[in-house]
Symmetry: C2
Subunit: 254 residues, 2 copies
Amino acid sequence: MEPTARGLYRAKEFAAKAGVTVRTLHFYDRIGLLVPTAREANGYRLYSDADLERLEQILALAFVGFELDRIKRLLAGPPLPLEVALRLQRTIIAQEKHRLELALAAIDEAESSLARADESERWQAVAHVIKVFKMQNDYNWTENYYSPEGREKLAEMRRTTPHETVEAGERAWAELIAEVEAAAANGTEPASEAGRALAQRWCDLVRAFTQDDPDVSAGLNQLWSDQTHWPTGFKRPWSDAADAFITAAKAARG
Amino acid sequence: MEPTARGLYRAKEFAAKAGVTVRTLHFYDRIGLLVPTAREANGYRLYSDADLERLEQILALAFVGFELDRIKRLLAGPPLPLEVALRLQRTIIAQEKHRLELALAAIDEAESSLARADESERWQAVAHVIKVFKMQNDYNWTENYYSPEGREKLAEMRRTTPHETVEAGERAWAELIAEVEAAAANGTEPASEAGRALAQRWCDLVRAFTQDDPDVSAGLNQLWSDQTHWPTGFKRPWSDAADAFITAAKAARG
DNA sequence: GATAGGCCATGACGTAACGTCAAGGTCAAG
DNA sequence: CTTGACCTTGACGTTACGTCATGGCCTATC
């Protein structure tokens, strides 16, 4: 029948198995995200079951909103960043969801105000109502915690920091958080030598992230401590127990 | 001082007032969405307070997710489509929100399964968990109500129908819905002459939308009647009272 | 042996909503 | 006369592909 008997599939068949289009496969191949295991002599792509597994991982990560470029690096890198990446992605999704909730509420409000408005001011009515909701979060509630200078510096840092640095930082955070979680779980004293060492590393990482800028670190501190104003669904990337531990350990360092 | 004293602003000042960038103003100008009231002799853009009002309307509609091209037509067109457009947009946002909720739940599940998985199968664990959530809605829960043929035909229709037709349809729906709401509110008998006339128009519009295709209309009917499975936040673009009225009126027509 | 039809390939261009960069014009202050 | 702040337009980059267009490969059929 087909020349693709033992676990190898040509483009169309493979695409159908995975639920994507052939053009998507071409694209993933070109950007190096999913290169087919082999090619036939005539150049036809041949995909294996291992390729299918990788594609499913890709699609899973894409579903939770990762960019393809990010997915490529996640799949290539060491295993640790996965946890951290998922947690960070969670906060992004939670923010987007919050934005959509505001938009929904804004539409509902706009509809009823539209019913009350007379012909001439319909647009103003809608614009006004939505503007109110828009300003409620201004697209990015975290920014409210920073001073204008802090905001600018943060944006600047985000633009200029290369992603290797970002990922190294994420890895460092992941390791430290894991250790803090473990310490909190096994009853280590926050004020002990080990606890204070963890607190030291924590503060060092914060300083590395904020690049020692007071405007940025002030906003960051407020953001994390003002739990009552977080949007629904937003979480710290570490547990309450770990938070209590590290807070106590930092205090013990004085 | 500036040459822009009496209610006219140059690009930077105007952008600051409205909270957008100058480049955005350039872009809106080029696509004809917001053309400045005037130009100075040297070609500098001059914006008026009326421009600011329009820009605020644009930003409001953009906040609830309308595309710029759509916004342009909404602001140009007759007032009626605004209500309908808002209601339709609501369902889209509600769907997106639902998707994000699934993604959040998927991440939470993935995290805990990640804690249980050993090194070698971490990726499979995550991919598997997320795949489950992904399939729960398959990006588009409405499609579950259609047969494969119905889905294809719907997609085909969406590709080929020009937006003027779509908007004419929306206007027709808006008018009809408004009349049905009114009839339901003022106690008109569904079985009366007027009620059956409304039902007739309703069925005609459905036939126009489905283009008389049985696969499409079957799916559509199931979708609207299976209220218990709608995602949270999803609503009919008409009230329960109107729904009861039109159902009874259709029944009266036999 | 020619041809029709199905699958495959690559490459160019389009999408949405701008950001970024580049090259250059305008104008008031020093 | 230069500096610096502001303005202009145009070209290109971004994301994740879809949509042609063109042409090769291969098999079945006439």
